[in-house]
């Protein structure tokens, strides 16, 4: 039983990770890719860790698994946030289907260096 | 006999005091310093009876015994003859130098060098060990370099000094090789033993190489054609130097060496042929060129070249007559040539010119000098009842005895040339009406005329007291011939062919003297030839060497780092590949650890990352790819049981990325800089190199010559190291020294990076 639970958790977790990576490949712009990776990736690893905890069924392993999960839950969103923020400030191009941008409007021209018609700068450094 | 090495070393010791003496006494120091060589002359003279009795003084102590080098001296007749000449003439040279360089700021150094040279020269002639001899031999080259370049601010002096050093030094090195072979062939490094083993050496397989190499040394030192050119050029030196080194002593070192080795190497057709041919060629070249020069010192220098050729030729003939002739002539030559050089120097010093065609009538202004000059000139011409006359007679006798017509002709012509030169230097400039020299001629100071006068008189006296001379020279002749030899010298041998030839040569010489101006204009041709002579060759070869050096350096040291890297890579590939190819490589076996799907995927990721790092044209992309490769490697560590490694790898990888990111901001972007073909070339090379490393890894994996020592760690880690993580126990205990070094590296790297960022001496960006 425990074996099966562990197996399911791990398979589920790795499947999520796979989905995250497919999302990272498939999604059209950086922000939506990030949506995929930051959620599915984190949960995927967390599930795998949980599977390991179940499998070993011992306090040290469980605490380690918990630690992994906590670390990921703590760091992944922060990482996603800072990347997204920097990318936005860097004016990474957004998908053409994007509906609105309430931030750009509130940034002063000086802050963004808005130049009429300037495309996203080349980030391929 | 410890006095012998002390005698040789005493000039060295004195040279250390010379600057002090000069500082106290100024130019008078010459007189004081000359006391030593005077004493030495007496000392060496006093050893002569020992040598004559066949039990010469000798001294031997190990120097570098393990390499067969002894510090040994052997004062036989030949050595003493030279030693007496060196110290005797040296006495007057020191005195002369005191007057000649009066007031010169570097006169003290001249004394130092002269004394050093004297000691070296004494060492050359007295050494018994081949290597000791070579040491002193090279020291004479070195000191002569310093002496020739004494007027060091002039380009020409420096060139002449270097030329002398290069020519004699090259010969010296050849000679060293020859000596080593000779030592092997003879089974001893001691000359006194080598000369006993002549037959053994002459029949050895190494004989010819030994002969060639030793002759190289002797010929270059003694300015034999075609190495003669350095000697006339060396006349850039101050006159005391020319008089001492380039007439009386150093140039005779080669002759000395040949004489010394005659019992060991002489007597074979090779020996005879090479010595007579080179000697004769030198005589001709020197004699002819001497006629066309007007500079007094050049004149004398070329005639010295011819004289040296003469001596070499006589040694080549090797008959008792020839040897006697050689040594008598050598002694006479040392005396009169030294005197004539000093005369030339005095004239130059007092009148400001050495141009023989512009000088005349100096006898009234410089009577003592003129006296010496006439005496010495007569000796050179072989006219008076002097020692040189005896020498010439003996030599002619020997040449006639050899029966070689060519040699006879050459000898006569050269003698004629001597007559002419003697006339110009000893007579022409002193006779006739006084010329308009740059300076009004005055008699030189005592220090400058006492030498030539003494030497000239000595030459004359020795001729007149031929018996004494014979007694003096006999031991030397015995040394050269390798057996005791009776020696009788007489001025008058009766009318014979030799006398006839002598007269012929004098007549020819006198004719040339009378028509000197015409001879010179005819000799212009010789000058043009000279332009393409060995001197020119020397320049050309230096230029060629220079060009070769520059060209090679441009290729090898191109400045492009990637070529250097290519050199390293290609070297290791060639060496390792050839080793595998020629030494038989072990076969590659198949894997023993099964491939897992995820393992393969990880491997694929590393490969993909590496390729991506190469192909990506953005810096951070490449760095990210590098991170991917590093992560993949970490996963390999995980899969094969190395958690510590995996952690370290990840941490290091991440920190490296952080550092990159912090710094990349300041680095320029990638640009495609290299050309396509170089990319292809580099690509092929890197693939080959990678393939080789992969192959090596595989082969090494399956060659297990011995089981690893790790089981020890596995067993002792807990009981003796008190740790269950074996890797860590290795790091902090079993192999803590590695770790100590490693953190030192780390610490230094940190400090270095810090210092590099904070210390900017170029001032580009002050912090």
């Amino acid at each position: 039983m425990r074996e099966i639970l562990a197996a399911v958790l791990m398979l589920l977790g790795s499947a999520l990770a796979l989905i995250a990576s497919i999302g990272v490949i498939r999604m059209p712009d950086m922000f939506s890719r990030m949506q995929a990776s930051s959620k599915a990736g984190t949960l995927g690893v967390a599930l795998v860790a949980a599977g390991a905890a179940v499998f070993f069924h011992a306090v040290p392993v469980t605490s380690r698994a918990l630690l992994i999960i906590v670390f990921f839950l703590l760091t992944a969103p922060v990482a996603a946030h800072i990347i997204a923020r920097s990318a936005y400030l860097m004016r990474v191009p957004m998908w053409e289907g994007t509906l609105m941008d309430e931030w750009r409007g509130r940034l002063t021209a000086e802050e963004t260096g808005e130049k009429p018609g300037s495309p996203g700068s080349d980030l391929a450094s | 006999m410890t006095a012998l090495p002390l005698a040789v070393l005493s000039p060295f010791a004195l040279s250390a005091l010379a600057p002090w003496a000069h500082a106290r006494l100024k130019h008078h120091a010459g007189w004081l310093l000359a006391v030593l060589p005077a004493i030495l002359t007496a000392f060496f003279g006093s050893l002569m009876p020992l040598a004559a009795s066949g039990a010469p003084a000798s001294f031997r102590t190990p120097w570098v015994a393990s390499a067969g080098v002894m510090f040994s001296f052997h004062a036989d007749g030949l050595a003493l003859l030279f030693a007496v000449l060196i110290s005797g003439i040296g006495t007057f040279i020191l005195i002369y130098a005191g007057g000649y360089l009066k007031g010169h700021p570097q006169q003290g150094r001249m004394f130092v060098f002269l004394l050093l040279f004297m000691g070296s020269m004494l060492g050359v002639v007295l050494s018994d060990n081949l290597i000791t001899l070579f040491v002193f031999w090279e020291l004479t080259s070195l000191t002569s370099y310093l002496l020739i370049g004494f007027n060091h601010e002039q380009e020409r002096s420096r060139r002449a000094a270097l030329q002398a050093l290069v020519v004699t030094g090259t010969g010296g090195l050849a000679m060293l090789a020859g000596f080593l072979l000779l030592g092997t062939a003879a089974g001893s490094m001691e000359l006194s033993e080598i000369v006993e083993k002549g037959d053994q050496i002459r029949s050895a397989a190494l004989y010819l190489p030994v002969l060639i190499l030793v002759l190289m040394g002797a010929f270059t030192k003694s300015a034999q054609f075609p190495f003669h050119h350095w000697l006339p050029n060396a006349m850039e030196a101050p006159t005391p130097v020319s008089a001492y080194l380039h007439s009386a002593t150093m140039v005779k070192a080669g002759v000395f060496l040949l004489a010394r080795l005659t019992p060991a190497l002489g007597g074979t057709p090779e020996w005879e042929a090479s010595l007579t041919v080179f000697g004769a060629a030198t005589m001709l070249a020197g004699g002819a060129l001497a006629l066309v020069k007007t500079d007094l010192k050049q004149l004398l220098a070329y005639s010295t070249v011819a004289s040296l050729g003469f001596m070499v030729m006589l040694l080549g003939i090797g008959s008792p007559y020839a040897v006697k002739g050689c040594l008598v002539f050598l002694t006479a030559h040392a005396l009169y040539k030294g005197a004539l050089f000093m005369v030339a120097g005095a004239v130059d010093h007092e009148t400001g010119t050495r141009d023989a065609s512009a000088l005349s009538g100096l006898r009234t202004g410089m009577p003592f000098t003129a006296f010496a000059a006439v005496l010495a000139g007569l000796a050179m011409a072989g006219l008076g009842p002097w020692l040189s006359f005896i020498g010439k007679e003996l030599a002619l006798e020997a040449v006639l005895g050899g029966g070689n017509l060519w040699l006879t002709a050459v000898t006569v012509l050269t003698s004629a040339s001597f007559v002419t030169v003697a006339g110009v230097t000893g007579l022409r400039i002193f006779s006739g009406p006084p010329s308009a020299a740059p300076k009004k001629a005055h008699e030189a100071p005592l220090s400058m005329w006492i030498g030539p006068v003494w030497l000239a008189i000595k030459g004359a006296l020795l001729g007149l007291m031929a018996g004494k001379a014979a007694a003096f020279l006999a031991p030397a002749v015995s040394s050269v011939l390798g057996r005791p030899e009776q020696m009788k010298l007489a001025l008058w041998h009766g009318v014979n062919a030799a006398l006839g030839l002598s007269a012929l040569s004098i007549a020819l010489g006198a004719a040339a003297y009378i028509g000197w101006d015409r001879v010179r204009s005819a000799g212009r041709l010789g000058d043009t030839i000279l332009k393409w002579g060995p001197d020119r060759l020397y320049d050309l070869s230096l230029d060629a060497l220079s060009a070769l050096a520059r060209g090679q350096t441009r290729v090898v040291q191109s400045g492009y780092l990637r070529y250097y890297l290519l050199a390293v890579i290609l070297t290791v590939m060639t060496l390792a590949g050839h080793a595998l190819y020629s030494r038989g490589e072990p076969p590659v076996m198949v894997s023993t650890v099964p491939v897992t799907a995820y393992g393969a995927a990880v491997a694929l990721m590393i490969v993909a990352s590496a390729i991506a790092a190469v192909l990506l044209d953005t810096r951070l992309g490449a760095i990210a790819a590098l991170g991917g490769a590093g992560g993949g490697v970490a996963l390999v560590y995980v899969m094969y049981g190395a958690p510590d490694l995996a952690m370290t790898q990840f941490l290091v990888e991440t920190l490296t990325i952080i550092l990159f990111v912090l710094i990349i901001f300041k680095l320029p972007r990638f640009a495609r800089l290299s050309r396509p073909w170089s990319r292809v070339r580099d690509g092929l090379i890197s693939i080959a190199a990678g393939g080789m490393m992969a192959y090596l890894a595989l082969v090494a994996l399956h060659v297990d010559l011995h089981p690893p020592i790790s089981s020890y760690f596995a067993e002792n880690s807990v009981p003796a190291g008190f740790g269950r993580n074996v890797v860590n126990v290795i790091l902090v205990d079993f192999r803590a020294l590695d770790t100590l070094g490693e953190i030192s590296v780390l610490g230094l790297a940190g400090l270095g990076a810090y210092a590099l960022l904070k210390l900017r001496l170029s001032g580009r960006k002050a912090v």
């Binding site: - | 441009r554 393992g599 390729i611 094969y640 680095l667 290299s674 596995a714 807990v718 953190i743």
Partner: protein, 115 residues
């Protein structure tokens, strides 16, 4: 698996060497990093591969049970990794300063000190 890892090592070496042969300083240093990874992996592989048996002695035991990953190459590699990290950090700063002094990333501009 060894064959596969040998291939990986080969590729890492090839990539590292190729990168080092470029004219760009940044590529040079990336090449160096790849090269040190390759060397480490080479040591690891030629020391022998043992899956999943880290050289850790279980609590209460006194020695490692027979199949275990050789700890010595691991210790060596760990040392080598740290050394190459230190060297890399220094080299990075050095290259940055060099690019700053020369005003370019191009190695071909850095030829003045030879000959």
């Amino acid at each position: 698996m060894e064959n596969l890892l040998a291939l990986v090592i080969g590729v890492l070496y090839a990539a590292g060497i190729y990168m080092m042969l470029r004219r760009s300083l940044v590529k040079l240093i990336i090449g160096l990093a790849l090269l040190s990874n390759a060397a480490n992996l080479l040591i690891f592989t030629s020391g022998g591969l043992v899956p999943a048996r880290p050289p850790l002695i279980a609590r209460g035991e006194s020695a490692l049970a027979a199949p275990f990953a050789d700890p010595l190459p691991q210790a060596l590699i760990l040392t080598a990794i740290v050394i190459s990290f230190g060297v890399m950090a220094f080299a990075l700063v050095l290259f940055y300063r060099a690019a700053e002094e020369a005003g370019a990333d191009d190695l071909d501009r850095l030829t003045s000190t030879d000959t």
